[in-house]
């Protein structure tokens, strides 16, 4: 290839390059025009973006607030636990902040209940015994659903039959209702049947395990044996 020919080739390639860059520049200009055009369209794109951000902010801020406020969420179920204030068989007032640093096993019942309540108290007593030294980390709380008949004196006498570490809680109707609400416990007095003047109380019979920070961890069934309950508790307390 001659020098001239080479020069022509170079020239032509340069001109081709400049043409390409010109096209690129033109394209770039068109792109910038397009961007300017896009920027000139806030009603569509900006509003969509704004709405999306607003939704995200709403989810992040409003949802947890609503969750805490109502204590309910379809995703995580009802939030167990909350403020309460009750009198106890030890003579002290007990709230959700009492017994700091200890786990709480909270369950509801009443002393006129002949079957499930004494059986559950016996199961918890057996579990406390089985837990050995680990039981020091746990405070069982028996909350009455029948404050009219379950005075502190009645509760104290009733609990003498079971593990002495179980603390009984009672109070005014309002105080007891607040505690029931905190734990989402259902309790309803059933009018006496026939000639009987003894009434019974339908109630939730589930044991709630709260950690040392007072947060709900899990619930336990009243159908567990003492050994089964001790095993379930040991897993959490260790």
């Amino acid at each position: 290839m001659s020098e001239k020919a080479m020069g022509e080739t170079q020239r032509s390639s340069i001109s081709r390059r400049s043409l390409a860059s010109k096209a690129l520049l033109a394209g770039h200009r068109r792109w910038r025009t397009m961007r300017r055009f896009l920027r000139a369209l806030p009603p569509v794109y900006a509003w969509v973006a704004l709405l999306l951000s607003a939704a995200a902010v709403a989810c992040a801020v409003w949802w947890p607030t609503a969750y805490v406020r109502t204590g309910q969420s379809e995703m995580s179920g009802p939030r167990i636990g909350g403020p309460f204030r009750l009198e106890s068989t030890t003579g002290d007032l007990v709230t959700e902040k009492s017994f700091p640093g200890r786990w709480k096993l909270v369950f509801f019942g009443y002393t006129f209940c002949p079957d499930v309540c004494p059986a559950t108290l016996a199961t918890v007593s057996q579990a406390m015994e089985d837990l050995g030294p680990l039981a020091d980390r746990l405070q069982p709380l028996f909350v009455t659903v029948d404050p009219d008949r379950d005075t502190i004196t009645q509760l104290r006498g009733y609990l003498e039959h079971f593990d002495p570490r179980i603390v009984g809680l009672s109070g005014s109707d309002v105080q007891v209702e607040r505690a029931q609400k905190a734990f989402h416990v259902y309790a309803a007095k059933r009018p006496p049947e026939g000639t009987s003047d003894t009434y019974f109380v339908d109630h939730s019979a589930i044991l709630y395990l709260m950690n040392a920070e007072g947060d709900f961890v899990t619930h336990l069934s009243t159908s567990l044996s003492g050994a089964e309950m001790a095993a379930a508790l040991r897993k959490r307390l260790q």
Binding site: T111, F112, C113, P114, D115, V116, P118, A119, T120, A122, T123, Q126, Q154, G157, Y158, L159, E160, H161, F162, Y186, R190, E193, G194, S196, T198, F200, D202, H203, S204, A205, I206, T222, S223, L224, S225, G226
Partner: protein, 165 residues
């Protein structure tokens, strides 16, 4: 004379014994009811408890259904047939007007289910002691049962019966 008198006495005594024996035999025949109350026990209660529960198994070996109409106990003012219902974690107690024991079948009264509820206890049910329950059946009539007082098993626990001491 003496011998004769002695013979009369013997005859008289055997006659009395015969009549007595016949009555006893008929009583035994009546008592051999097809209905039995097995493994009855009551849960020991705290001293301040006003209520208690008795658990047992009713067995009907006869060829006809029978009905438990009710019961009374020396340990309480009242005794009622009750059933504990677990409605999704909510415990409800219901009075049962009566309980049918099917021919050749049995009905369990156990913790967390059916029980004979003792209302207004005359005193606490103390472990190791016993109480009496008189059951009234439609066909089999009245039956008195001695009930052991014990710490019961857990609800739905592995053991159907309390530990035997």
């Amino acid at each position: 004379m003496k011998t004769h008198n002695g013979g009369l006495t013997v005859k008289f005594l055997s006659a009395v014994l015969g009549i007595f024996g016949a009555i006893t035999a008929s009583n035994l025949a009546l008592a051999a009811s097809p209905l039995t109350v097995e493994s009855a026990w009551a849960r020991a209660t705290p001293s301040v408890a006003k209520t208690g529960a008795v658990f047992f198994t009713l067995r009907n070996s006869g060829s006809a259904d029978d009905v438990l109409l009710g019961a009374t106990s020396d340990a309480a003012v009242k005794a009622e047939l009750h059933e504990t219902l677990d409605d999704g974690g909510i415990i409800r107690m219901r009075a049962l007007p009566n309980v049918t024991i099917p021919a050749g079948g049995s009905v369990d009264f156990k913790p967390g289910g059916k029980h004979l509820m003792l209302i207004d206890l005359k005193g606490p049910l103390v472990k190791g002691q016993t109480l009496k329950v008189i059951f009234t059946f439609k066909a089999a009539g009245a039956q008195t049962v001695t009930v052991n007082i014990d710490d019961g098993p857990a609800i739905g626990g592995m053991h159907g019966m309390p530990s035997q001491h």
